[in-house]
Point group: C2
Chain length 327, copies 2
């Protein structure tokens, strides 16, 4: 910076002013400085800048298993939105979901001097940890449930569960079976609740949900159980990967979809359209969730004073394909 100042024949502070688009710089001076910057190939040191301004223009993201389509898409949306707003994104992917893990991740990011944090916290324990932790940095939880003081952006899982179940009842099915996600996951809970509420509202019996862990294998195993029962005509599976396992199990047992049993998934992963048969599912707009979470976070960072907690809900939509049919 000193070199640039010398080259342009001004003080280093004037260079700083040009860089920060301060209004009180004569345009001729500005031009001379810009020229010197170009000539010397100068780039300002953001670390020094962060030291004095207390703002790093970096956001932290805490996530769990970014290998899955949902989290990966959400994180992608977050990164794109953050960069568009001129922020860097620092990521921490956790393996375990305990309180200590979340605490460590937050501390780690706080140490690095991030300006705010997005926690993709789909498990109850993560949301809980987040709610308990006294944390002074702006924070947004994605799928964070009733996360205490922090703002939340999420997809309306309950509504998704209702749509899936409602779609199947509309097709004339007497009742709908459910293969649920792990009980620690808020998303799994929301879908179960939506499913149950529609059945109750329609006065239909609600069979005991089968347990899954989101993996195709767990869907496969649940599917085998269902295949050996006779009065099953409709199944709402809590995600598309498990639905794939279910389809596989049904195929093996000679159960025809959708002729004998209708199946609805959740997520609308890119593969779903090409399952056999193409899967009717509930689409979640992960990209929108990511973008919204950054919007909420930046609002919190930039409008310092107002700490009002926001809650933004993204609606899911039914995507009708060939795995569901009229009874």
């Amino acid at each position: 910076m000193a070199d640039v100042a010398k080259e342009a024949g001004v003080s280093h502070q004037t260079v700083s002013r040009v860089l920060n688009e301060h209004p009180n710089v004569r345009s001729e001076t500005r031009a001379r400085v810009m020229e010197a910057i170009d000539k010397l190939g100068y780039r300002r040191n953001l670390v020094a800048r962060a030291l004095v301004t207390k703002h790093s223009r970096t956001l932290g993201v805490v996530s769990f298993d970014t290998t899955l389509y949902g989290p990966a898409s959400t994180v992608y949306g977050i990164e794109q939105a953050a960069r568009a707003a001129g922020y860097f994104v620092s990521i921490v992917s956790l393996k375990s979901i305990d309180r200590a893990g979340v605490r460590d991740a937050l501390d780690y990011l706080a140490d690095q001097g991030v300006d705010g944090i997005v926690v993709v916290a789909p498990q109850r324990s993560a949301a809980q940890a987040l709610a308990d932790l006294p944390f002074d940095k702006p924070t947004v939880a994605v799928e964070g449930g009733e996360a205490g003081e922090v703002s939340v952006v999420c997809v309306d899982q309950y509504e998704g569960g209702r749509q899936a179940t409602g779609h199947l009842l509309d097709l004339g099915h007497e009742t709908v079976w459910h293969i649920r996600g792990p009980s620690d996951w808020l998303e799994a809970e929301g879908r179960v609740a939506g499913w149950r509420s529609v059945l109750e509202q329609a006065g239909r019996p609600a069979p005991e949900p089968l347990a899954g862990d989101w993996s195709p294998r767990s869907g496969y195993e649940a599917g085998r159980s269902l295949a050996s029962m006779k009065d099953v005509t409709a199944v709402f599976v809590a995600n598309d990967q498990m639905a794939l396992g279910v389809l596989r199990a049904f195929t093996e047992r000679g159960v025809r979809v959708p002729e004998q049993v209708s199946v609805v998934g959740f997520d609308d992963i890119p593969e779903s359209e090409f399952f056999s048969p193409p899967l009717t599912t509930i689409r979640q707009d992960f990209g929108a969730v990511g973008r919204h979470s950054i919007e909420v976070l930046l609002r919190q960072i930039e409008g310092q004073g107002s700490h009002e907690r926001e809650r933004l809900v993204v609606p899911p939509v039914v995507v009708r394909r060939a795995s569901t049919a009229r009874r």
Copy 2:
């Protein structure tokens, strides 16, 4: 830090020494300092530290579409390995793959003061851009082809193509059709080359490869073409997603897999095992690729002097399932 020093009755420099595990500190003094740190809840400011040491302990990652399973898994492996080594990870996901995009991403990360960069550069254009760019920071390319001066970590795509094709010939197929990935992708090229070499070596005719873009839809369309041809008995599809589309197309046309046609995919995504039929495929260990790329990068960062360019190749393995059968 000054507060801690006062609390412990020492100078700030002694506190710094304790924090940096300098050997020449009396253990009694060290204990007193640690106690003061605990009591005051002091955490050192990494930004100030980075300013003076010139090391941010942050690594940059440039990637393309982290929504896909491969890149997502690789980035996950990178993040885990980096954090285990005490480094932060800053991510930039590019949409476009042109030279300017890569240049911007590298500049962006360089500005932020990262100590090194991993570029997940599966496209020829990205690898090219990387090779051309004069860049002084330690850099590693993942799947970067013959990327000029930079070190490369990759899966042996050529060998994978050979294994897939060899497996099908071993089963007695006269020849093997191929649905390839986009021509800009190095991985696609490697697989094509491996496939072709085995056919040539065996003196078999090599049919013109069908073009795909990695998406299930493109696989579906190529599959429809193949279904209408009569002498197709074996297909090597360049990734599992396209293979899913192929299976779908075959199912629709009444072509039975593996009875009439054998299909081999590539990647071994978690879903493959539950396709109908379960897919024989070539497994890539993305996690290992991520880990290795960090190892290579850290070696370059820490052993400053030696700029020897490394090239680390991870072997793929065949995973036999039900989509291939003896002819």
